[in-house]
């Protein structure tokens, strides 16, 4: 099988439309930018204060120009900078079309947990709570399980990042849409059976018309 992260990034990229304003979370979601066709005009926003986020360029490093994780980035033509208040007005105000982020758990009601494992990992929520609350579409990009332990749960057990905000879950095995009546399995990896996906998912899946993921 192709690298799971690459499968996920390629599939998430298909959800983005020309002209979209998109925020990519740190880690796996940043790989989505590599999978966008070059004739697509997508505007990447970063919550530390820019629109027009460009790729890392080792020959062009400026300590004052970073992504939200503090890593050096570049600015695309027509990009611009703003302060954090305006940045979160853009985010909370519903002006971001798509936010893509990872998660530790997602549940059958579209709630997600991503920012704290009490007693173990307490980095903080950063901008994630605002992003999932305010963005028009929330896509979770994550591996299907954590070393075999399902991450798609009946109900999240960790403290929530947000309640009922996820629209789509993309993993290396499946694409799952969150609707009012539950989780719909809409695509599967061609090499993986529906039974295998059910086995690796704790939440109930609604299965009707399951297409094959393009990999």
């Amino acid at each position: 099988m192709m690298n799971p992260k690459e499968i996920i990034a390629k599939r998430v990229a298909k959800e983005l439309k020309p002209g979209n304003l998109v925020n990519l979370g740190i880690g796996l979601p940043t790989l989505v930018a590599n999978e966008i066709p070059s004739d697509f005009e997508i505007y990447f926003q970063s919550e530390n204060g820019l629109i027009g986020l460009g790729p890392y360029d080792a020959s062009n490093i400026d300590q004052d120009l970073t992504n939200a994780g503090g890593q050096p980035v570049t600015l695309m033509p027509h990009g611009m900078y703003f302060d954090s208040s305006l940045s979160f007005s853009i985010i909370r105000g519903g002006h971001v079309d798509v936010t893509v982020l990872g998660a530790l758990e997602v549940d059958s009601e579209g709630s997600l947990a991503s920012w704290i494992v009490p007693g173990k990992m307490v980095p903080g929520m950063g901008g994630a709570m605002d992003l999932v609350t305010g963005s028009k579409k929330v896509i979770i990009a994550m591996t299907h399980t954590n070393k075999g332990i399902p991450k798609i749960k009946k109900q999240c057990s960790l403290p929530l990042t947000a309640y009922h905000q996820v629209d789509l879950i993309v993993t290396e095995l499946a694409v799952i849409e969150v609707k009012k009546d539950g989780l719909h399995l809409i695509e599967r990896h061609p090499d993986i059976s529906i039974e295998d996906i059910i086995k690796q998912t704790e939440a109930n899946l609604i299965i009707a018309d399951v297409k094959l993921m393009e990999v």
Binding site: S46, E47, N48, G49, L50, D62, Q63, D64, L65, T66, G69, G70, L75, Y81, F82, D83, S84, S85, S87, F88, I91, R92, S111, I116, V122, P123, G124, M125, G126, G127, A128, M129, D130, T133, G134, P159, L160, T161, A162, Y163, H164
Partner: protein
């Protein structure tokens, strides 16, 4: 320091160690809420209403206000005795510009503290009035390359 209010301490291992050892309390706040709490104080507002954090542990101990069919948390304004900020350019009065994404929280912080101290990279004679981000009235002292200048 007894309490730290921040949105993310993942890149600050010292804060994590002090929190783990119980030497320092850490209050984690969503980043968009924190910046707006700071802005609100500088703008003379008592607080803000935000949907961020509803139905999560961020809601604990806070008033939930139901308005136009939506739930909001009442988050109180945050002011400070001292703000330490970083700017790109300053003139002799303390009018400021910032550099790229290093602008972030600085303009809001400048408005919400009793005393604002700025470290600027460059001291210039004049800044185009159209591009001043922080008016000098918010800046009490500035430092250029280690030298102090009292704005008053």
């Amino acid at each position: 320091m007894d309490t730290l209010i921040a949105s993310h301490i993942g890149l600050n291992p010292e804060a994590g160690e002090k929190m783990g050892a119980g030497i320092m309390k850490v209050k984690l706040v969503p980043q968009g809420t924190l910046v707006e709490q700071i802005r609100a104080y500088g703008a003379g507002l008592g607080g803000i209403l935000t949907p961020t954090g509803t139905h999560t542990i961020v809601e604990e101990g806070k008033q939930v206000i139901h308005l136009n069919d939506l739930d909001y948390l009442l988050e109180e304004a945050i002011g400070a005795d001292l703000a330490l900020i970083k700017a790109h350019q300053t003139d002799h009065l303390g009018n400021l510009t910032y550099s790229k994404t290093a602008r972030n929280f600085n303009p809001m912080m400048a408005t919400s503290a009793n005393i604002t101290v700025c470290e600027a990279t460059h001291l210039v004679d004049e800044i185009d009035p159209e591009i001043v981000i922080t008016p000098h009235i918010f800046v009490d002292h500035f430092v250029i390359g280690g030298k102090t200048h009292d704005e008053s």
